[in-house]
Symmetry: C2
Subunit: 297 residues, 2 copies
């Protein structure tokens, strides 16, 4: 039983009714005011799955727990507004709670949202489950559906080996993406959490298209370059490692997407194809790209 099959089962079991978008995108979407939607997401970090207590400080755990949810809000084109946090700890210790909430409080200030509730339980293993509520103007809502043949594929930031350093200090480009979608026609968007290859495949499956990636254009992180014996190995890290929490989007080729928004680098890495194949091009060779990112089961 793969994660994907379970999600498909749940999608069928819980078909949307009143909701605008149910299970299957980065956020669920529900009606709000005349020109706005509410967007909803949840993402959890569990000890020994998403973090080890020996490697992470509580400050870093708090920051990561918030950032992975902000990344989902960002990928829908929205801004965060409110959050609820479920926390499970083996023992209650004010120092732990202080350190954990120090980073959460900083993220509240930086990203302009409020923590309005939550739940605290004793649990054998530590976990933190964040629920985030955002809003987005109806006209700016971005989803995984909407990529069209000949659209170009872009990503923010760099990829690969994010578990070495980057995962401790994630800062999703919420405000930069807002500037982008207000200025340019963006046809689809997804956040890269499980891996560039597997999340891109999710996007093109939703949009019922294929892709051709220029593998040598993929922005590879310094960490991935450093630990790889050659360029191709570093590209494999960038495609498959996951934990990057960058944004991938598509735009018609006539859109003049800039190379940077604010401090965020934007890189064109490929194009959408009508044929539903997943192709990587490297030094003239065509390679089939498989879904090799992180899957929970």
């Amino acid at each position: 039983m793969k994660e994907k099959e379970i999600i498909e089962f749940l999608k069928k079991r819980f078909k949307k009714k009143e909701a605008i978008l149910g299970i299957g995108d980065d956020c669920a979407v529900i009606g709000y005011k005349k020109d706005y939607y509410i967007i909803l997401t949840t993402d959890s970090l569990f000890e020994n799955v998403h973090f080890e207590l020996e490697k992470f400080t509580w400050y870093q755990i708090g920051k990561k727990a918030i950032a992975v949810n902000l990344s989902d809000i960002c990928a829908m084109g929205g801004v965060p507004k409110f959050s609820l946090i479920s926390l499970g700890l083996p023992k209650a210790d004010l120092e732990i709670i202080k350190n954990l909430t120090n980073s959460i409080k900083q993220m509240c200030r930086k990203y302009k949202f409020e923590v309005v509730g939550g739940n605290l339980i004793r649990s054998e293993k530590t976990f933190i489950d964040v629920f985030m509520i955002g809003i987005v103007e109806k006209k700016y809502l971005k989803t995984r559906t909407g990529a069209k043949p000949k659209d170009l594929i872009y990503v923010t930031g760099t990829f690969g080996c994010s578990q070495i350093k980057k995962q401790f200090n994630l800062n999703p480009p919420v405000f930069e993406i807002r500037r982008l979608i207000k200025k340019y026609k963006i046809t689809s968007m997804i956040d890269i959490s499980d891996g560039l290859s597997s999340d891109l495949i999710k996007l093109v499956e939703s949009s019922k298209v294929g892709f051709k990636l220029y593998l040598d254009k993929i922005p590879v992180s310094e960490d991935a370059k450093r630990i790889s014996k050659d360029e191709f190995e570093s590209i494999e890290h960038a495609l498959n490692d996951g934990e990057d929490y960058e944004i991938l989007f598509t735009a018609p080729k006539e859109e003049k997407i800039p190379g940077k928004i604010g401090k965020i680098k934007i890189t064109k890495i490929g194009e959408i194809t009508r044929e539903r194949k997943y192709i990587g091009v490297y030094k003239g060779n065509m390679i089939e790209i498989k879904n090799q990112g992180f899957s929970h089961f």
Copy 2:
């Protein structure tokens, strides 16, 4: 470090800004349409803390996870609309997912809400964390604040030893409470999850009042009567066991609160006092009621 001190710390750290109500009631409250609020809650069940896999079926775990959240929505006077579910399982098994979602799906139908998203991870211990979004008309919002001296105290259902049988089949009286608040002036409300004594104390602390309970009027469950050697012991179970998921509310004494709404029994169990003391009256004796319900730390 007690749970209560941690909650106080978090309340101070995350002061509400745009929210109508932040940390500290059964739900957070945020603005919505002209006459409505959105109410938000989260509650999680963790293996060996809230359920044992040997005692519970997956169907029962799903039902309890939803019910404890519906209870919070109910206690604010609202109705549920949308839910997101975070699930952690050591292994993915379609039978588990089917059984778990069978009860969740039934609760969706019965209580008229949709599951619109969630998150699935591999975790050493099983957990299910539910986020529930409800709505309530501004005029019907009930909180823990608002109980006035001389108000009478009422509860739904029965109390005590709920961990024996009742916890496997919780059905929060959402629609009955809606009928009640539309017809009568209800001044405050809370759901009884940690224990009648400790949750009543939370309510009177929020309302800055005290109470006098007629201990022999407390509706004691059949299970509590059965295992107790005398009436007083059964009352102690009713006061302190927790896991009852009933609703406690206060109303001015001139309100003609009925003994039943639909199939739900309503019992008058005491009165609110100006003096901030917590008194139980039993056979002419006055007893100080202490906070002895369930606390996580």
